[in-house]
């Protein structure tokens, strides 16, 4: 069931752990679990500290950084400091542009597409209207926002989500005695899965549809326990059956 989420791209470095229960992760819920949760890791927003080539030892060896490749500014959370409204607009434009370019490139290959360029643009404009969408993880009260347009595939997205929620602060590792092994989000081998709510309000498993279709229909993401998501998969299995054969 969940194995159908396999992306088939052989991303061995994909390490995404999901450790969340449903319900927005209120305190009461967490307290209800025995011992305080199935995971004890501290998620943390990416900051420059995650990029040791740039983060530490600033002044001392500033010149030595010339060799290392610095992180792209878009990989650091909340950086560059552009308001989210503006950021959404920006990424929408970029997505529209690249989608339009892709469509036109595809058009050249497929001769039976008779649409005018203008129509393609409009269609793309109508569809690609997203930017930051909310991500909630069970067990974490603090929701996040992730910029879908900054990602090109499910693996990308999964990596970002892992970084967001599971990168341990080096100072606190070992405090809880637990460190989650890298969990595979998308192939179903972990105890957590990534789900999303689409435009109709249905909750689906992520990975069933081609990426481009996914990003036009996703409204928000939620990471939930596999056990709870099992029902979800079963519910939506048949309608999705056909789509599963399409490349992700």
């Amino acid at each position: 069931m969940i194995t159908e989420l396999e992306m088939g791209k052989g991303e061995s470095e994909l390490e995404l752990g999901l450790g969340l229960s449903l319900g927005g992760g209120t305190g009461a819920k967490i307290g209800g679990k025995s011992g305080g949760g199935a995971w004890g890791e501290r998620g943390r927003l990416l900051t420059a500290k995650d990029f040791p080539s740039v983060g530490s030892k600033r002044a001392a060896d500033s010149s030595s950084h010339a060799g290392s490749s610095p992180p792209r500014s878009s990989q650091v959370v909340g950086w560059p400091p552009i308001g989210s409204h503006r950021m959404n607009s920006l990424v929408n434009n970029q997505a529209t542009k690249s989608a339009r370019e892709e469509e036109e490139a595809g058009k050249k290959k497929v001769n039976d597409d008779h649409q005018q360029p203008k129509d393609v643009t409009k269609k793309v404009n109508g569809k690609v209207q997203l930017g930051f969408i909310k991500v909630n993880m069970d067990g974490v009260a603090i929701g996040r926002k992730v910029d879908l347009n900054a990602h090109s595939s499910y693996e990308n997205l999964a990596q970002t989500l892992e970084d967001m929620f599971f990168r341990t602060n080096p100072g606190t590792i070992g405090l809880t005695g637990q460190f989650t092994k890298p969990l595979r989000l998308l192939d179903g081998s972990s105890e957590f899965v990534l789900t999303y709510e689409d435009k109709e309000g249905d909750w689906m498993l992520v990975g069933d549809v081609p990426w481009r279709m996914f990003i036009t229909s996703v409204k928000r993401l939620r990471v939930m326990k596999t056990s709870e998501a099992n029902g979800l998969a079963a519910r939506h299995q048949e309608p999705k059956e056909r789509q599963r054969n399409q490349p992700a």
Binding site: G27, A48, G78, P80, P81, I82, H85, A141
Partner: protein, 578 residues
Amino acid sequence: MNYFPEEVIEHVFNFIASHRDRNSISLVCKSWHKIERFCRKKVFIGNCYAINPERLIRRFPCLKSLTLKGKPHFADFNLVPYEWGGFVHPWIEALSSSHVGLEELRLKRMVVTDESLDLLSRSFPNFKSLVLVSCEGFTTDGLASIASNCRHLRELDLQENEIDDHRGQWLNCFPDSCTTLTSLNFACLKGETNVAALERLVARSPNLKTLKLNRAVPLDALARLMSCAPQLVDLGVGSYENEPDPESFRKLMAAIQKCSSLRSLSGFLEAAPLCLPAFYPVCQNLISLNLSYAAEIRGNHLIKLIQLCKRLQRLWILDSIGDKGLVVVAATCKELQELRVFPSDLHGEEDNNNAAVTEVGLVAISAGCPKLHSILYFCKQMTNAALITVAKNCPNFIRFRLCILEPHKPDHITSQSLDEGFGAIVQACKGLRRLSVSGLLNDQVFLYIGMYAEELEMLSIAFAGETDKGMLYVLNGCKKLRKLEIRDSPFGNAALLADVHKYETMRSLWMSSCEVTLGGCKRLAQNSPRLNVEIINESESNRMERNEEDERDKVDKLYLYRTVVGTRKDAPPYVRIL
């Protein structure tokens, strides 16, 4: 001592508009305090948790206009989690049940609900003006309440809010008797707009001066709207056709010709450049131009437009203008006072730097625009030499915000830190009130800031500094500092705790991903009853699990602010108030 009757004093006070001056007046003596209280019409509250609505109303019963700010500035960049706070509802409730005749409400970074908007619309018969900036939590249903119930509405200004667009008929909710609108801005709405309702509304609003449309208002509608509102001063254009038909274009041109009062242009949210020439006739009168959302307008189209805007005082654009474009701005816009250059490409897809701006553009602007006093500049690279030149050319900066996109990036020619460059800026610009620094920076820059930035009120620091000394230089030196926000910099407890009383002279301090620990924050809170010290840690379950806290734990986010009303009660569980 009063030698005049109270009425006379009150009359004199009414000429004093600035809230800072008003605050000063009220401190002179008890009698002035009392007089001032009862004639204060406008109140500005920079942090909604510094005071509560009950005390506000008690002190200023004749209040007509209230400005409230909620979340800290870094909330704009997704650094503040949801439900942190900033709820406007308690304020509206309190005002509603009092006798305050509220006429104007301006909110920034607050959570506003449809319920709040509905209550607002029903509670104040003379309500005239609603301005919401960077707010969230409401939908177009809330707007419908405002439209339906506020009989005397003049201004509805929605700037960069997150609004759930139910694609309802909120524009239809303005009754036919509503003819008082002077300002309508719904550019941030993402959904369809009832264009017919909009046209009718504009047609019956002869005083409409500001109109800012969203994406959904197409070109032909724009032409009709402008035809019935030739008195417009400030226009925000929605979307544009890629290739308009000649008839539409002609109509638009005819409409624009009549708009001789137009002084400010913005939007072009989904614009293709081919329609720009229709706007050429108004360019010579423009004092404000905001093309920062117009990703499609670039290159020669943009240059041609700018070359006509000789009276421009304010320009917001994308960095696709390039250094060459900025040289044109410098040559053309001699009246320029404020410039903002935003990044257009975040993912490094365009490796050719023709699309970006560099220190060259900045220097050109500083040399060409003698009246420049405010700048926000996103760029890929900078040099000390350029900053020193800019400082010499423009000693009049009051706002200088430079954002080099890559954290820790040094002077790209000398590979040194940019301390000297920023040092030159603060030394030359004696009136500097707001500063944002970036690039590779040591403690030295903060020494300069502490020494020279005597008027500095707001400082933003990211990925900078070396030791606690950096932060200490600033706290000790900048006497007028009100807001300090720091992220990803190595400042810790020693700096935080050196002068706790300093924070009572400031509005707020934000520190995220720095070196301050839980223990340090606790010590700070212990000595400061008039400060709220809030800690936001990322993982709630982590916090609940551990029975003993480790005071050596670093705090993810610290936000502290002065307050006269103690701990707030509406904080979510992951915000800990010490």
